[in-house]
Amino acid sequence: MEFFLVQLLNGISYGLLLFMLSSGLTIVFSLMGVLNFAHASFYMLGAYFAYQVSTVLGFWAGLVVAPLLVGLVGMAVERYGLRQVHKHGHVAELLFTFGLAYLIEEAVHLIWGRSALEYRVPPELDGPIFQIMGSPYPMYRTFMMLVSVAMLVSIWLALTRTRIGLVIQAALSHPETVEALGHNVPRVFMLVFGGGAALAGLAGVIGGAAFVTDPGMAVSVGPIVFVIVVVGGMGSLAGAFVASLLIGCLQNFSISLDWSLAGLFSWFGWMVGPDTPLWSLWNVKLSQAAPVLPYLLMVLMLIFRPKGLMGTREG
């Protein structure tokens, strides 16, 4: 029970972090039709910028400054890159962001080197905050959740209370009407793209400190975020939210369980041992299979419910 609660909380905090990433990706996708392959690279940039800032001004300055910087980078990318390839269609845009992801990773190699950075949780957030049935729960995890929820609320306010928010909402439900809204569409695009990048940057700041800040962090989280968008349903914010939590929990639970199919079989009374055909398949522990599960979920979703959890559009 205690194990369950701790894992659940960890799953939720990780899921919320994933939602910080997938929400930006979803909004940009719905509004502009651009699937930003470099989205996870902005996540990585957030962590690196925050590290750089924190070496001079401390963690809290990094928390504020780094997402803003990443947002600026995002706006520049939209203005000087994406807008140019827009006329060649969505595949060209995707290729552009793919190249960009490649480039950002190499630039990070170039500037910060290939090994992980010493970017750590600040001392004031280190240590336990409360006890769950006798075992301590880390303060930083709680802080992660707080930031994510604060961000969730601000996204929601921005979507419902501002003019740009209304444009975005209209775009989410009726993508074809964006052009007709009479706003300065290129400017809206630039701001939204920058905003999405800043969100990813923020996720990078807190995720980088919680997990690891190294040049592989974009590649390790990027595909998961894409899976979330597919599983949630392309262009659905609510779907992305549910899928983020789902995958966050799935990953946290699976890495700590050593169930296997062989165990399941023996539970039914079928004995399988090393001589059984395909033994290595039956004997895989859930914890070993953890990296595959999100993708498996995606494949199953595509076969049985191609629209995704809450999608309305056929891709």
């Binding site: 290729l95 552009f96 793919f98």
Partner: protein, 423 residues
């Protein structure tokens, strides 16, 4: 009349294919250096892989981020077949072993393709990425079959030599690769000229209309995908024979990204584009990686520049010169081209200077602050070096702006004349 029209075209085709075969046969004579042979073998494999990738991207409009799945799994099955032959479990000529890779690729194409080709466009791209990640994770999960991180090594010199071919010497391996590359090339070209090949183009251009002339677009994409996976598997089989090792890297996202970049740089719109791309990419990878650790950065920049300014790739850049050459107007472009080239070189020098200097600074090499760039001693901690690099970049940028205006003005004038002449 219509039969007559095809005769000269057929003749041209014979010449092109003959020349290609000759090129493959004579290429190793260029030099005795062993790295040339390594380079050529790698090119041959990548040519097949890139052409098979272009069956998706260029011909079917499917942008895949997971094509290494098919070549990689093809390679794994080939390595097991080769090892079994080595143990004497059964007899199979090494010459035909890439076929095993191809069939494995085809089999996985049939399985995974069924899922990925349910969608097209952006969603297809995402799913292909997901499948790629899934297979990569699986490869690490089953070390018994895939050999874990270290992979599986093999020895290609097995069994009785057939027709005297042992595949011990690298030259024999090169000719094996060349022969397979040539046959695959011809087969993939022939495929573009079949009903399925033509309809793959139609589905790429306008999937909706294709449905209203009787074609199930999903089925067209699926079949195209399976055939493409077959050739990817052949490329994987050849790489297994060439390197005598297959590891998780063979199915990695890095490989998938590499073939995408190679194909795109070469040009997706023309059949020979990916061949060009494979050659350029291999040169980049082998030649440049020896000089600088930042070669991937240069490759990325080159790729982005192509996406932004020449989305048709190198093949397209070459092809659009042909009408100008025909109209005998190319000489008017020489001067603008030369200027653009000079400006480009200036930009490139500035860029290389900046990249190499930053790289040096970050490489925690505190002791040494002087590096050699193009024969010059450059102190990366001195202001003048940075000023020089900055000046090069700025001047190159300005020059490039002017040169590109000059080129495009001349270009448009010539195009207009050509069109007026045709009308």
């Amino acid at each position: 009349m219509s039969t007559l029209r095809y005769r000269p075209l057929d003749l041209g085709r014979w010449i092109v294919w003959g020349a290609t075969a000759l090129l493959f046969a004579l290429a190793p004579l260029m030099s005795d250096a062993s790295f040339v042979l390594t380079l050529l073998s790698q090119m041959g494999i990548l040519i097949i892989f890139a052409l098979s990738y272009n069956m998706l991207l260029g011909q079917g409009g499917m942008l895949s981020f997971g094509h290494a799945v098919y070549s990689g799994l093809g390679a794994y099955f080939t390595v097991h077949a080769l090892n079994l032959v080595g143990k004497g479990a059964f007899w199979f000529p090494v010459t035909l072993l890439p076929l095993v890779g191809g069939l494995a690729g085809l089999a996985f194409g049939l399985i995974f393709g069924y899922v990925t080709t349910k969608k097209s466009g952006t969603t297809f791209a995402m799913i292909s990425l997901g499948i790629g990640e899934m297979v990569y994770a699986c490869v690490l999960m089953f070390p018994a079959f895939f050999g874990g991180e270290g992979g599986i090594s093999t020895n290609r010199v097995v069994g009785e030599p057939v027709l005297g071919l042992t595949y011990g010497p690298a030259l024999q391996v090169y000719y094996l690769i060349a022969a397979w590359a040539f046959v695959s090339m011809a087969a993939m070209f022939a495929l573009t000229q079949t009903p399925l090949g033509r309809m793959a183009n139609a589905v790429r251009d306008n999937p909706e209309r294709a449905e209203f002339v009787g074609y199930n677009t999903q089925r067209v994409r699926y079949l195209q995908m399976c055939l493409s996976a077959f050739f990817a598997g052949v490329a994987g089989g050849l790489s297994c024979i060439n390197y005598e090792i297959v590891s998780a890297e063979n199915v990695s996202a890095l490989r998938s990204g590499g073939v995408l970049i190679a194909t795109f740089i070469g040009g997706v719109g023309l059949f020979f584009g990916p061949i060009l791309g494979a050659i350029v990419f291999t040169l980049f990878a082998i030649a440049l990686s020896g000089f600088t650790k930042a070669w991937l950065l240069y490759l990325g920049l080159f790729f982005l520049a192509m996406v932004l300014y020449a989305p048709g790739g190198l093949a397209w850049l070459i092809a659009i010169q042909i009408p100008v050459l025909r109209a005998r107007r190319f000489s008017e472009l020489l001067w603008p081209y030369a200027l653009a080239l000079a400006a480009g070189l200036m930009l490139l020098c500035g860029l290389i200077g900046a990249v190499e200097m930053i790289y040096h600074l970050s490489l925690e090499s505190a002791e040494e602050s002087v590096i050699a760039l193009a024969g010059l001693e450059v102190d990366v901690r001195a202001l003048p070096s940075w000023l020089a690099v900055g000046a090069l970049l700025a001047a190159g940028g300005v020059a490039m702006r002017h040169a590109s205006r000059f080129v495009s003005a001349r270009w448009h004038a010539i195009q207009q004349d050509i069109q007026r002449g045709a009308a």
